[in-house]
């Protein structure tokens, strides 16, 4: 989807509408009810929202329809986050918002005023890879690589969820804090699809980091 082109189209149409409205307004002077309708905010007026992305503040002015994913990719050129299905099923667009992983395709940028967003670009420390990135390289946890930014963001958040004691559907007794077995990792990563099916190596990479962080 080409968002910039979209916006230009809307601006053009709004100008046409604005010109039309002005002509109508002249003809409805003395009709307060009609004039009231004209005073409502325009649905296509851009909205400004302040976000913290990878530790930096950004004020974005966007069409309210802009998803967080499109804001990252099209407005901030942070193209590490990928658009796969654009309907919350594949997980390629996974980012971490206020410490929790979400599908950035199924949320609007304007809903995230003041939120802290971490994308794949924000994980490394300069040239030093994040341990999860390094583990994916070490275990060959990818083939084509398109799903990988989402897989890695998801895996980083998974470890934090596990540390916080969250259960999963693979947890036999939900009142206990489960051990991060292979079955637990697979279940917790089910929101990230890999068309190349690098799953065994992805699970191995996550186990490696999880076990390393235990020691």
């Amino acid at each position: 989807m080409n968002h910039n082109k979209d916006t230009r189209l809307h601006v053009t149409r709004r100008r046409v509408l604005a010109a039309g409205t002005a002509a109508v307004a002249l003809s409805v002077v003395g009709h307060p009810q009609l004039a009231l309708g004209a005073g409502l905010p325009d649905a296509e007026t851009p909205v400004t929202v302040g976000l913290q992305i990878n530790g930096r503040s950004h004020d974005l002015t966007v069409d309210p329809r802009t998803t967080l994913l499109d804001a990252l990719r099209e407005h901030l050129a942070l193209t590490g986050t990928k658009k796969g299905c654009d309907q919350g099923q594949c997980g390629a667009c996974t980012v971490i918002v206020n410490g929790q992983r979400i599908n950035s395709c199924l949320t609007l940028a304007v809903m995230h005023a003041g939120d802290e967003v971490t994308t794949i670009e924000g994980l490394a420390n300069g040239d030093e890879l994040h341990p999860m990135q390094a583990a994916f390289v070490r275990h060959d946890g990818l083939q084509c690589g398109y799903c990988t930014p989402g897989q890695i963001c998801s895996a980083v958040a998974l470890l934090a969820e596990h540390k916080a004691g969250w259960p999963s559907y693979a947890t036999a007794d939900v009142a206990t804090s489960p051990v991060l077995t292979e079955a637990e990792i697979s279940e917790r990563m089910s929101g990230n699809i890999c068309r190349c099916s690098a799953y065994p190596n992805i699970v191995a990479a996550i186990r490696d980091v999880a076990e390393g962080s235990l020691g």
């Binding site: 809307h10 409502l40 905010p41 325009d42 649905a43 296509e44 909205v47 069409d63 309210p64 329809r65 998803t67 654009d86 309907q87 919350g88 099923q89 997980g91 996974t94 929790q100 992983r101 979400i102 599908n103 199924l106 949320t107 609007l108 304007v110 809903m111 005023a113 998801s154 958040a157 998974l158 969820e161 916080a164 004691g165 969250w166 259960p167 999963s168 559907y169 947890t171 007794d173 939900v174 009142a175 697979s186 279940e187 917790r188 089910s190 929101g191 990230n192």
Partner: protein
């Protein structure tokens, strides 16, 4: 997506007033609504974002249960230690649904109000009485293996997709709402959903601008709680059939039982018939089979979903066997 006005609500009363316009919608997590807006199945002219409202707490009630704010995410509810200890059924059911990414966004109220995943509701090239009243139903006589077998009509055989709601139905949850005029009411979860009849586009009893503000869980009923979901793949798929039970035994008899099904109706399907058959019955597979027959007595298949009727009976037997230790 069609253009819309975006409003971040600053208070409950003003949110309800704004959302009372017929073309307005509340948005919380947005995981279902935005998906449908991209397909132009939902085309609100005005979105009222309740993301800043103070409705994200889980608090203990005087009667010994929990009150869950509408904005509590599915993840937060499933991970709450009080829920995990008192209502393990609810944690299990929530964790059986969707993916962690979705559960981190999806909210309690939004989950209850999610719309059906009937493929013909999503396919805008096919007729659907939910999308366009009077257009007809492509699922009756279509590829309907995911559709409902109980409580539906020839105008709509869509199934409700929630796992969470099935557990809540078994737990006798109550929905607390506030309307645009400030009036509040409490609705038993079973009465929240309207049968499709000839008006399948009207899905709940809620009025325009009426906001679910919380869900109340009464103190847990006695007995072992268990949720089982049967689906096409091991994770991240909607239920073909799911079963929630709470069952208590005394010696060789069933002392108390709650039974609810998912995937087979327009709502989470609490089965009074199965419960009546179970209470006082011997703790045997024969009793569990009788309960299953009672529960599905009025079920009707539409071809590709005929299998759901025996599957629901067998899943109930398996869950009751697990919960009572019958082999």
């Amino acid at each position: 997506m069609k253009p819309f006005r975006y409003e971040r609500a600053s208070g409950i009363a003003s949110a309800c007033t704004s959302a009372a316009e017929p073309t307005a919608k509340f948005i919380a997590g947005g995981t279902n609504l935005l998906d449908l807006m991209k397909l132009q199945i939902e085309t609100p002219a005005h979105l009222v974002d309740i993301g800043s409202l103070p409705l994200a707490e889980i608090e203990e009630t005087a009667e010994g249960g929990l009150r869950v704010g509408t904005r509590v995410t599915n993840s937060a509810l499933a991970a709450d230690m009080r829920v995990r200890r008192l209502y393990p059924l609810l944690s299990q059911a929530i964790l059986a649904g969707a993916s962690t990414q979705l559960r981190n966004k999806a909210t309690t109220g939004g989950n209850l109000l999610q719309r059906t995943r009937c493929p013909y509701f999503y396919d805008t090239t096919k007729p659907c009485n939910k999308r366009t009243p009077g257009a007809g139903c492509a699922a009756v006589g279509g590829l309907n293996r995911m559709n409902a077998v109980l409580g539906v009509s020839d105008d709509c055989i869509a199934a409700h997709g929630s796992d969470m709601a099935v557990a809540m139905a078994a737990l006798d949850a109550r929905v607390e709402t506030v309307a645009a005029d400030g009036a509040t009411r409490t609705i038993p979860i079973d009465a929240l959903y309207r049968p499709p009849g000839s008006t399948p586009h009207i899905e709940t009893v809620l009025a325009s601008g009426e906001l679910i503000r919380s869900v109340v869980l009464p103190p847990p009923p006695p007995g072992r709680q268990l949720y089982r979901k049967v689906r096409d793949r091991a994770s991240f798929a909607f239920a073909l059939v799911s079963v929630a039970v709470v069952v208590a035994r005394e010696d060789d008899r069933v002392r108390a039982a709650r039974v609810a099904f998912g995937g087979i109706s327009y709502k989470p399907w609490r089965s009074a018939e199965a419960e009546a058959a179970l209470i006082g019955a011997s703790v045997t597979q024969a009793s569990f089979d009788a309960a299953g027959r009672a529960a599905l007595r009025n079920a009707r298949g539409y071809g590709y979903n005929d299998f759901k009727i025996p599957l629901a009976r067998r899943t109930l037997r398996a869950v009751l066997s697990d919960a009572t230790g019958v082999i």
